[in-house]
Subunit: 312 residues, 4 copies
Amino acid sequence: MSAAAPRVGFLGLGIMGAQMASRLVGTGQNVMVYNRSVAKAEPLRQLGAAVASTPAEVTSTCDLVFAMLADPKAAKAVAMDGPDSAVAGIAARPASAKPVTYVDCSTVDAATGEQVGNAITAAAPRTGFLAAPVSGGWRDARDGTLLFLCGGHQTAYEAAVPGLDAMGSRRWLLGSTPGDAARAKLMLQVMMGNIVGSLAEMMALSKAAGLDEAAILEVLGESAMANPLCKAKGELMRKNDYKPNFQVYLQQKDLRLALQLADDLGVPAPISAASNGQYIRARQMGFADKDFAAVRAAYEAEVMSEPETEDA
Amino acid sequence: MSAAAPRVGFLGLGIMGAQMASRLVGTGQNVMVYNRSVAKAEPLRQLGAAVASTPAEVTSTCDLVFAMLADPKAAKAVAMDGPDSAVAGIAARPASAKPVTYVDCSTVDAATGEQVGNAITAAAPRTGFLAAPVSGGWRDARDGTLLFLCGGHQTAYEAAVPGLDAMGSRRWLLGSTPGDAARAKLMLQVMMGNIVGSLAEMMALSKAAGLDEAAILEVLGESAMANPLCKAKGELMRKNDYKPNFQVYLQQKDLRLALQLADDLGVPAPISAASNGQYIRARQMGFADKDFAAVRAAYEAEVMSEPETEDA
Amino acid sequence: MSAAAPRVGFLGLGIMGAQMASRLVGTGQNVMVYNRSVAKAEPLRQLGAAVASTPAEVTSTCDLVFAMLADPKAAKAVAMDGPDSAVAGIAARPASAKPVTYVDCSTVDAATGEQVGNAITAAAPRTGFLAAPVSGGWRDARDGTLLFLCGGHQTAYEAAVPGLDAMGSRRWLLGSTPGDAARAKLMLQVMMGNIVGSLAEMMALSKAAGLDEAAILEVLGESAMANPLCKAKGELMRKNDYKPNFQVYLQQKDLRLALQLADDLGVPAPISAASNGQYIRARQMGFADKDFAAVRAAYEAEVMSEPETEDA
Amino acid sequence: MSAAAPRVGFLGLGIMGAQMASRLVGTGQNVMVYNRSVAKAEPLRQLGAAVASTPAEVTSTCDLVFAMLADPKAAKAVAMDGPDSAVAGIAARPASAKPVTYVDCSTVDAATGEQVGNAITAAAPRTGFLAAPVSGGWRDARDGTLLFLCGGHQTAYEAAVPGLDAMGSRRWLLGSTPGDAARAKLMLQVMMGNIVGSLAEMMALSKAAGLDEAAILEVLGESAMANPLCKAKGELMRKNDYKPNFQVYLQQKDLRLALQLADDLGVPAPISAASNGQYIRARQMGFADKDFAAVRAAYEAEVMSEPETEDA
């Protein structure tokens, strides 16, 4: 690969970001990475990536930049705050340079997405911005099987495609603004919250009715409703084992955002509202930091203690 | 097949029953069938089945008898009412005869299941009764891929196995009473109603938010929640096409029964209660006899007219 | 009062019935009473009432008969069961006798009301039946300030007026069938359950928000929403004092009946459904036999112990 | 009254404010008023009030200042924005002047209350701030029968008492921060929304059940639940007359704020959530700007047209 090859930048090397950046390197891209704590960049350096010391260094150098930050606050800080930020790096590029496309894969609310997008596109003429939150976990990131839910202009989407296809197996442009990506993600979270909430309700009824819960889950697994989520969460509910994967408080926060969206749009959302109430109750019973399958606990009169589990 | 071979009886040759009885004949059983309207028995006769003129004739002759009737009323009438009933046939058997096992595959409520079961087992000593409602449609019946949700004594279950395995691909003994089968079925119906209700809610939000609904369904289809039910019903909702497969009023009736069960058991069921409210609204808006995907209509302010569809 | 004066009958001398019958005697009516346990009739005898040994004795003698029984089972037993029943007494009257008007003040469900009404009116030609459940407690019964919610024919209503006006301060003919009275009562119970449920929700929020709950109740008491029920129940909630007046399980049963009615009528009832869920949770948490203000407990994560109170 | 008498200031002379300021003048206070549109100040001038041309003029002159603005935006603008604002006037006072007490009677959310309070108290040392939103309409303002729901320091509360007592009949210090007043008001709004929502639900059921709705309302009016709100709104529902008094969108906004508060506090609020859904549905059906009794319409399948009214 020649030194002149276009560089792809990557900001944020957490559990997900590190795997995603590795995919970019592994598929032959010329990659420059940045992470606040530089130690996490070392494995990428050994794979051949350049390591920058600020976000600005990445955006002043690379034409296509991906960001994968932990939360809205970090996404805003890296993109917009101060002379080391991505925005500063874009503004510092010579007028003759190719326009940057900045792709934010962090999961953020619609307002944050719009805010970051506006700051980035205002940094220099013709700068592109794409919101591209992912569906999938670190194994998907490692295997390049992430799903990208994109919102932004068609041009930015097309510029991002080579990187998206190196890191994921499917991608969709769901709307023309960054907020559309956040809202689309929220739609999936609503389904997830309601399905797992319903499963908890059904399991509580099955138990109270004296039915064989394991067999009920088997039957469900053979029906037209069969899906991996119910299979996994149903088992956790049976075992009363709520080691966190995706926490109650995060699932409930997404339901809350969806209910606010529904309210803004003037659409009643009674099922999500009822489901939200059960996640709030699970929080109230002390399960905020447990896996969201712990919504099952909201159907019991007393707070149950969790079984000891071996693996941490 | 010798004349002395044990006969398997089948009562009720509707859309489902005819296919199920055909499977029994096709797998080499010596079958005797009964249907109120005798014309529907003709295809079975041509396949080699004997045709009885009353339920009693079947139960006085066969050791293993399956029933597949349209509703609780028909299930009770065939089993219990009058001198032509299944009970009468069982009572008429000589004391030396092998005890009968009666397997009711009809979908009935728990109370009806218990009532029929009690009448059958009281008809003669050692008579067995198994409630075995099915999950699956007529194609599954034709292909022998039905799922049987059984409730009753282990002995009756074991006696029924050869017939169950000729007609279905999976079977579970979910509890020790006929009511347990009905309650287990209800658990699946609760999940079905709540998942499709949630899907309707999410689709209504997506539409109001200006998102690409077809793409949202694709994303859902790639997620850990992917399941054939959402795929099928999501398409119907997008097309506003509610040609009945399983009707709104039937789905709502099942939610109502589940809520009464929850009430009896002292378990709150807020998600099912909210979902039930939306199906009632769909009824109120004139969709009682449409497919239950029409719960989508409950999220619109005005009653929408349905598109013309070609197949009636 | 001459011996020939028309006799008014009264069946059932519980806490309410004893007071009601006393009112009839006190306003100068010529009264004959019946109670299963004869000891309870003694105070009425001392006031001047005749004491019968069977319901039939009352209905064969009196032209206007009131019944106030504990529950649907008792209401049916006294009215319809066996040779001592009210029906038997009516049937035994000579054809020339004045037709009887039977007024059932017991609180029963609509189905029981219709059943008792049919049996009574079938007992003899021109027999009148009025369902007239009451609103009010034993103090109202003592003071003649009960409210009568009536359902039945205009003729029966008019025949009952002298008795109703001796025992109560207001009366309404709400519909033309016995079931209408039960349904009207249910409407009030729905309001009661929902208002007290809302009060509990608001008090839980106030407490969690650190507001002065006593002051909030004062403000409510000065607003356009001020009502004696909220004043009384709000105090009980603040004191966490749930000595039973009207129990959780009874209030929840009424919400359940109302939800079944709503379902039958095809009207969504989401607020009552949500409220019902909270009463079920209160049952689940062990408050079934406490005052229905204990729905407040459904908003806490842990089951609270009740304070010691002096009077049991 | 001498020229040296302490002046009471009043900012905002809308429908409510004009009446409130008149009460202050009428009870002998030495009053200075301000209104953005000066024409509205004319009646007050004729009553004897001084008229200021900016909020700053009022706060630099008066020791006790009341504000009654239309919404959070106006409340903030008058208090905080620019050199004419109340804050600027306070800052301009000589260090030797008596500290100002600023009482904001506007209905604002908790966040706005805290923001305005912080700005005011930061304007000069020892400045007092009291949030004092009112319960009551313009007739109460005219008659001095408003209720004040106060939040702030005890000192500010006591300084405000002479003015509060001139304008209202009751006052409560509900908590120590401006946000507490907003939250207390929200508690009343939750009750109002839920009670009227329940009333609508009950009226819809009564109608569907064929009961006499007018009589049902009469019975309710004789029960322990009787309150002026139900009486008024029940009549409007019966007449299908929704000329706006307090609009659907305002009531729904308050429920939304209450649900967000509940979410923040970790308290489930299923009844309010269900009720909120019905107000959203009323908005969806086109009733956003009608009186909130129009939540009744959410229980009908079709949007009803409103009757012509003569408006009083």
